[in-house]
């Protein structure tokens, strides 16, 4: 089946920043992404877990599939939000069906 090259960008970021990242992506005209819940994790600022957090902290993961030539726009938009924040950005090569959608 015919597939087309693309980039898969995964941004793990604190839940209170979700709205800001959504907004930054929108500003950069990036309108395709999926948000996954995160149960817990560990990083330089220690270990955490979501059970019973009543929204105290918590992270979410944005997954954004994008044409290669739009990657830099995305990374710049994301970086502006993530910069000072706790968070991780990871890019992988990918292939998609139905390239016209991206």
């Amino acid at each position: 089946m015919q597939t087309h090259p693309a980039k898969r960008v995964e941004i793990t970021i604190e839940a209170p920043m979700e709205r800001r990242l959504r907004h930054a992506l929108e500003e950069a005209d990036i309108t395709g992404y999926t948000i996954l819940p995160v149960l817990g994790g560990s990083g330089r600022s220690g270990t955490w877990s979501r059970e019973g957090q009543i929204g105290l902290s918590g992270m979410v993961q944005f997954v954004c599939i994008i044409r290669e030539d739009r990657l830099d726009t995305l990374l710049n938009a994301a970086f502006a939000v993530v910069e000072k924040q706790i968070g991780v950005v990871c890019v992988t090569d990918a292939h998609v069906l139905r390239a016209e959608r991206f």
């Binding site: 800001r20 059970e51 019973g52 009543i54 105290l56 902290s57």
Partner: protein, 322 residues
Amino acid sequence: MFELAAANLLSPIILSFALGLIAALARSDLSIPEAVAKGMSIYLLFSIGFKGGVAVADNGIDAQLVGTLAAGFILSGIIPFVAFGLLRVLTKLDTLNAAAVAGHYGSISIVTFVASSSVLESAGLAAEGYMVATAAIMEAPAILSALWLASHASGESRMDAGLLREIMLNGSIVLLVGSFFIGLLTGNDGLDLISSFIVAPFQGVLCLFLLDMGLIAGRGLRETKGALGGGTILFGVLMPLVGASFGLGSGLLLGLSTGGIVLLMTLSASASYIAVPAAMRVALPEAKPAIYLTLSLGVTFPFNLVLGIPLYLAVATMITGG
């Protein structure tokens, strides 16, 4: 007062908190799902807001009500400056972290407020219904004070219109204020309709909620052991007393009932662990949650729950003569 503290200590509410604390410190995997915890907190906010509104509908709106709301607004805005000063004296926190911590102490802990109301009820003391509205009003101004403190220190502005909007429209505040107005509009008829939901099971839900708070506080303490210095911990038990004395003074000036004074003391003494931390993550991301959350939830919250509230009650009773 010792009797009172002992009775308070042996209430299922405090013991549930202790159970959570012990379970977390012993590394039990006991946990309450996030969705259930959030559901309980929605229930509690809706219930206290509604009951407050009904109480105001019963008593009517007067000058004292307006004065108390104004006092709450001012207390929330001023206390962070006092906390900031005390932090500079007692601890070595940098200005950014000190500002973030200070913001928590101007704002309020709604669960501490609820626990205090329960103690008043057991003691047979009534309080002004609009204290709930005062609680809602005290949530936010402290955040602005904290951001002003941080901006002042770093020279760069920490406030933007979007953030301000977000703070005012924070879910907890909207729910508390909204259900207050629903209670105000529907009054005792409304209360009759839903009292077997919002009144009867209230204390029981509070037990489970405090079990969860204990679990969170215990995990926080375990993970940040050592992160808090002695001076910081001292601040965590001194600051509520300072805050409470501000609340006491204002309550006396306003001529509140003994119960009302206790609640205003509790509000001033308590530190936020929901609205303010969320705002700080956005506005002051460099400040360390390990410090402000542990202090607020792991030190000041249990202090108020176990010792603070009975103390405030004893002092207020003594001064007002009951």
